[in-house]
């Protein structure tokens, strides 16, 4: 099977968030970047498992400049066979999707995996866009993939239950928690990753219809107010007047 996994780079969850250029750009200075956990733990690992089960290759693709090579190396160290980097900064979801689709359309992948979202902008948009651009079926937020038969059964957790979707390759799937378990690369994998191909290809021109007006940080949370357990009246007053939830 030919499998493609779309991977992106996100700030570490502990990063201090600030903006630049009139609050229209995330300020990445001094921020530690990581491979997006949904891409790494679920999408990539499930793709590798599928390859281990059915044979084939796992290709990872990233849209970004050479500062992303380290997260690509990590994906190769975990077990992807080869990598493609579209050599330009990721501008927007639609631009990223177009770059990925452009590469994927000539390759006839059986399954294209993504994480359900990136942990920075939480857009969860690229998967649907890639599927649409390639005219492939799309299953979002899959928490399980049964690949024991010829066809696939994907599970989605939905409000109050689960939905099971039966389909045949090719398709696009975004992976949520449950899809697989994190695999930590070992030293051998890290060294072997150096010998795996990382093909840098130019991006295509795209037009963009959207842009960021500005980012604002959420208001700082107030400290916790401790109320004496005997003082229920005060609790009710605060819930009414300050928290305004009653």
């Amino acid at each position: 099977m030919k499998l493609l996994v779309c991977i992106s780079k996100t700030p570490d969850t502990t990063a201090k968030i600030s903006f630049k250029d009139d609050n229209t750009q995330f300020n990445g200075d001094g921020v530690n970047f990581i491979l997006n956990p949904y891409d790494e733990w679920y999408a990539l690992v499930r793709a590798i498992e599928l390859k281990e089960q059915k044979g084939g290759t796992v290709t990872v693709i990233n849209v970004g400049d050479s500062s992303n090579d380290i997260i690509i190396r990590k994906a190769l160290a975990i077990g992807a066979d080869e990598a493609v980097r579209v050599d330009q900064p990721a501008k927007s979801s639609i631009d990223t999707a177009k770059q990925i689709a452009e590469y994927a359309k000539s390759q006839s992948f059986d399954v294209i995996f993504l994480g359900k979202e990136t942990i920075d902008y939480n857009g969860a948009e690229v998967g649907a866009m890639v599927a649409e651009l390639l005219e492939l079926p799309y299953v979002s937020f899959a928490s399980n993939m049964d690949s024991s038969a010829e066809h696939f059964v994907l599970t989605r957790d939905i409000e109050g239950g689960v939905e099971e979707i039966k389909l045949n390759a090719p398709f696009v799937v975004s992976a949520a928690k449950g899809m697989a378990e994190q695999r930590i690369p070992n030293m051998r994998g890290i060294m072997m990753a150096k010998r795996k191909p990382l093909n840098v290809i130019p991006g295509i021109e795209t037009s963009s219809h959207t842009g960021v007006k500005s980012f604002t940080l959420p208001a700082e949370k107030d400290g916790v107010k401790m109320i004496d357990p005997d003082n229920m009246d005060e609790l009710v007053r605060l819930l009414k007047e300050e928290a305004k939830v009653l």
Binding site: R73, A77, N186, I190
Partner: protein
């Protein structure tokens, strides 16, 4: 290992909140390999070791199952060639791996130091091709556990006075004597043992578990490195085939060559313990309120924290430079002594300061501080004591030997 009263230790649900600290952008001096290696070991430690380490340390048990995990992640001999079960990485990669392991626990790092630097390295460096192929892949994969026997009950800082000896007996040597304070010995499958031949020269032998007359009793009652197992090696007329002698080294330079490797790793490892203490102290000081404000706001707390990160940064740069020298094959034993001594002492001082910042909580196993502090007392002493390393520097700069 036999333990009276074996209780099952399960993972605690307390999360390891350790965060990365890089005040001087030292990460930019590291390569992709180094960063990937470090993050991989950190992730593994957080998942597999942090949730159990307090309990193992408290019960003074060695988490023997972690040998497999350490092997799988590639922590044994990462700078040895792939062919022999190593990782084919450079010395800085080895350093950052040791740092991450010791960030969790010096005992965990000791398990890896001994296996990689004191057992695999001498077999690789001084062993025959048959010995390499026989032992190294099994040690690298964790199938075999190894230990290193140099120290004796009456010869610690002065190993050249060792009494353990061999007598020629045709195709074998008859080994007699005893070794003391040997990390991993009670659970080891093989021991690299240093002993004197009849002509007084020191040679290295690979002694296998089960050889007649060989035993390895455990040393109990340690208040330090409690999650690492330590024991003796006792040899009573053990017949060791000559095929088990390391053919390519004679004299004290054999064991000292291994110790240089391990000390190098300790110079990095100690930074990990210091970082963990600093990390915990920094967080605690911001969360702990006294007199209506976080204690981090008091100047005396800030002095402690500021000095900690200053000392850590200096140690990081020392280790990095030592690593660059080691990669070029130019790190001298005296330079390694300086870094081992400085960084371990720095870590111990930081543990003590961090303990104060945690107040009473600092003495409990809610926080890792006392465990690190107690561990570091061993690290200060083993692999050459704090004072002996000072004398090595002293001898190096004056040309005069103050040992004897």
């Amino acid at each position: 290992m036999s333990h009276a009263n074996d209780t099952v230790i399960t993972k605690s649900d307390k999360t390891d909140r350790y965060q990365h600290h890089d005040y001087y952008g030292v990460d930019q001096l590291l390569s992709e390999d180094h960063l990937l290696a470090r993050d991989a070991v950190r992730d593994w430690v957080k998942q597999e070791v942090s949730p159990i380490i307090e309990e193992y340390a408290e019960q003074a048990k060695c988490p023997v199952h972690l040998f497999k995990g350490l092997a799988d992640i590639g922590a044994f001999g990462p700078s040895l060639p792939l062919k022999y079960g190593g990782g084919g990485m450079d010395e800085i990669a080895y350093g950052v791996i040791m740092q991450e392991l010791e960030r969790c626990d010096s005992g965990l790092r000791s398990m890896a130091s001994v296996q990689g630097s004191l057992v695999m390295y001498p077999i690789y460096k001084y062993g025959s091709e048959e010995q390499r192929m026989k032992y190294l892949p099994k040690l690298g994969s964790g199938e075999f556990i190894g230990c290193f026997g140099l120290t004796e009950p009456d010869h610690g800082s002065n190993p050249s006075g060792m009494l353990t000896n061999v007598v020629d007996d045709g195709d074998a040597y008859i080994l007699n004597g005893s070794k003391m304070w040997i990390t991993n010995s009670p659970i080891a499958d093989i021991a690299v043992v240093w002993a004197k031949r009849e002509d007084g020269r020191i040679i290295g032998l690979i002694v296998e578990k089960g050889m007649k007359g060989f035993s390895a009793p455990e040393i109990h009652g340690k208040w330090s490195l409690r999650a690492s197992i330590t024991g003796e090696l006792v040899f009573e007329d053990v017949r060791v085939p000559k095929a088990n002698v390391l053919p390519n080294v004679e004299g004290l330079k054999g064991p000292l060559g291994c110790l240089s490797k391990a000390r190098y790793g300790i110079a990095w490892g100690a930074i990990g313990a210091a970082l963990d203490c600093y990390d915990s102290a920094l967080r605690y000081s911001q969360e702990r309120i006294q007199f209506g404000k976080p204690i981090a706001q008091f100047q005396l707390t800030q002095k402690k924290l500021a000095e900690m990160i200053t000392e850590i940064t200096k140690a990081q740069l020392l280790a990095w430079r030592l690593g660059s020298l080691a990669n070029d094959g130019k790190a001298s034993p005296a330079q390694i002594s300086m870094a081992k001594r400085n960084n371990v002492h720095m870590a111990l001082e930081i543990a003590r300061e961090a303990r104060q910042i945690h107040g009473g909580m600092g003495i409990t196993n809610e926080y890792p501080i006392m465990r690190h502090m107690m561990n570091l007392e061993t690290v200060l002493t083993y692999e050459g004591t704090h004072d002996i390393h000072l004398l090595i520097t002293g001898m190096d700069v004056t040309g005069l030997n103050a040992f004897k």
